[in-house]
């Protein structure tokens, strides 16, 4: 079996064994459901059958949900010393990082799978744009992939889970809105660069149903850079 899959499977089952999975799933579905259907309420007032409200809410719940998933991944292995076992097995650092990335990504997929009833509900109420909705889910997956990479990078820097969690949020905040705010305050090439760095900008365009290669390149580069940095940190510890 491929070691990436072996590691991902082990991490997934340890999420479920330790209740983390259930707590996070309930929290994710609770918050996104609450703000989509009850507190936000405008999903019924849009006069349009779409899930844009949900995508906006999920973007924020995932923003908090993902660092909670990633924080333990490498930090805990370092703290308990099991990283030594893992790194002396017949696996590379890249396979370790990718295995852990995959386990978090599958957790997010599972969480999003549970929101499919939202889709079905709205599709029943009115004429939903299927393409745009699928594109919105794709946007959430891409955004999650990027935040998982950031989270793993944060987790590779420390052996304290709380530090890893806060660090991931701190880095995430820049992509989530600081770059966007700075961009609106600057002009010229600086504004353009900051605008291009803002994750929510790219997410917004994907979630509206516009899949541009620019956005795909952006998300994939974040994923690759994050995992590469995490891998480098593992190597550096040797």
């Amino acid at each position: 079996m491929n070691p990436i899959w072996t590691i991902a499977k082990k991490e997934l089952s340890s999420y479920f064994d330790s209740l983390i999975a259930y707590i996070l799933l309930v929290a994710f579905l609770g918050f996104s459901g609450l703000f989509t259907w009850i507190l936000g309420a405008d999903i019924f007032l849009r006069k349009q059958a779409d899930l844009l409200v949900f995508f906006g809410v999920a973007q924020w719940t995932l923003f908090f949900f993902i660092p909670a998933l990633t924080m333990r991944q490498l930090a805990e292995e370092r703290k308990t010393g099991t990283i030594e076992l893992l790194m002396t097995k017949a696996v590379t650092e890249r396979q370790i990082v990718l295995g852990k990335w995959l386990s978090c990504f599958l957790m997010v997929c599972l969480a999003l799978l549970f929101t499919l009833p939202y889709y079905l509900t709205v599709a029943n109420i009115g004429k939903i744009d299927h393409g745009a909705t699928i594109s919105g889910y794709l946007g959430l997956l891409l955004l999650s992939g990027a935040y998982i990479s950031i989270g793993l990078f944060a987790s590779s820097l420390t052996n304290n889970q709380i530090v890893a969690f806060l660090l991931a949020l701190f880095i995430g905040i820049f992509f989530q809105f600081v770059f966007g705010i700075l961009a609106s305050g600057s002009s010229g090439w600086l504004g353009e660069i900051l605008d291009g760095l803002s994750l929510s900008n790219h997410f917004d365009s994907v979630s509206r149903g516009v899949i541009d290669t620019k956005d795909l390149i952006y998300f994939f580069s974040l994923i690759i850079i994050g995992t590469l940095l995490a891998e480098r940190n593992l190597q550096k510890a040797r």
Binding site: T6, T80, T88
Partner: protein, 307 residues
């Protein structure tokens, strides 16, 4: 598979943990690593297993200096302090380790069952590792190191936390494995090296201070023969003088005056047993005790590592 270490070095900041170490281990040999805490034993082992990168020198495993995946597959490693995933059941953990070592899924279940049996884990196999006692955790650690039947076993303090019966069992196991494999183990427990190892390597402050079989090391440290004797029926001073007069004797100490006990050191490369016996016969004394004093491994160890 042979392991060849050439001029290996590793520093943590300014402190040299391993300082220019070279040695060789052959297949079928059990090498015991001895040394005080912080001597560099674990660091050396970590470098051999690829967890740490050496600052200098090279490690050659089976003729290859490049520690790639195929070489890693041939190494089984039990790290110091035996880190484990405490929330995993024993069987799942062994499955996971076997799979990470690249074993095919069809061989894993049989191999896991075999290791559970060999390491005496049968009663505890469905418990979570965190629920096990220290001794059982150590067995799990050993089981994961040996799960893929590696040609090289690196065991960092394999018998800590085990009770005397388990220690004997594990020693027997290591000895058995050592016949076909290359084993390096580190320990503080000196009788353990004597019981299991073919060769001893004592390191202190990152350098090798002794290398050899337990017997040769003992001989080296011993130098001259020392005998503890008791002679009955003679005058203490008289015996003392006569002992000193023997040509093969270098020095005599009176241990207990009333009991006529002496400690006799022979001249280098000479044994004085026969001379002492003859002397007693000639004088009509009775030689009731003669004990050759062997330098124990403890003495050798202390002599080499206490500065």
């Amino acid at each position: 598979m042979d392991i060849k270490i050439n001029n290996l070095g590793k520093s943590y900041g300014l402190q040299k943990a391993v300082d220019n170490i070279s040695f060789e281990v052959k297949t079928g040999e059990i090498l015991g690593f001895l040394g005080p805490n912080g001597a560099g034993k674990s660091t050396t082992m970590k470098m051999i297993t690829g967890y740490l990168e050496p600052d200098a020198g090279s490690i050659e495993i089976g003729g290859s200096t490049n520690l790639d995946i195929s070489t890693k597959k041939r190494i089984g490693y039990l790290p110091e302090n035996n880190p484990l995933y405490l929330d995993m059941p024993v069987m799942d953990y062994l499955d996971y380790c076997a799979s990470l070592q690249g074993m095919g899924w069809e061989q894993i279940p049989t191999r896991v069952r075999e290791m559970v049996k060999v390491c005496g884990l049968n009663v505890e196999k469905h418990k979570k590792i965190g629920e096990l006692s220290k001794g059982f955790r150590q067995r799990v650690g050993l089981a994961q190191a040996m799960i893929h039947d590696p040609e090289i076993l690196i065991l960092d303090e394999p018998t800590t936390g085990l009770d005397p019966n388990q220690i004997v069992e594990i020693r027997e196991l290591i000895k058995k494995l050592g016949r076909e494999k290359t084993v390096i183990l580190s320990t503080h427990i000196l009788p353990e090296v004597e019981a299991t190892c073919d060769r001893i390597l004592i390191i202190n402050r990152g350098q090798i201070v002794a290398d050899g079989t337990p017997t040769t090391l003992r001989k080296q440290a011993q130098g001259q023969q020392v005998l503890r004797i008791r002679i009955e029926e003679g005058e203490v001073d008289n015996i003392f003088e006569k002992l000193r007069a023997l040509t093969s004797v270098a020095a005599v100490d009176i241990l207990e005056k009333e009991q006529n006990r002496f400690e006799v050191q022979s001249q280098p490369e000479v044994f004085s047993n026969r001379d002492i016996f003859k002397m007693c016969v000639k004088n009509g004394w009775i030689l009731s005790e003669m004990i050759p004093l062997e330098a124990s491994l403890e003495d050798i160890f202390r002599g080499l590592t206490v500065n």
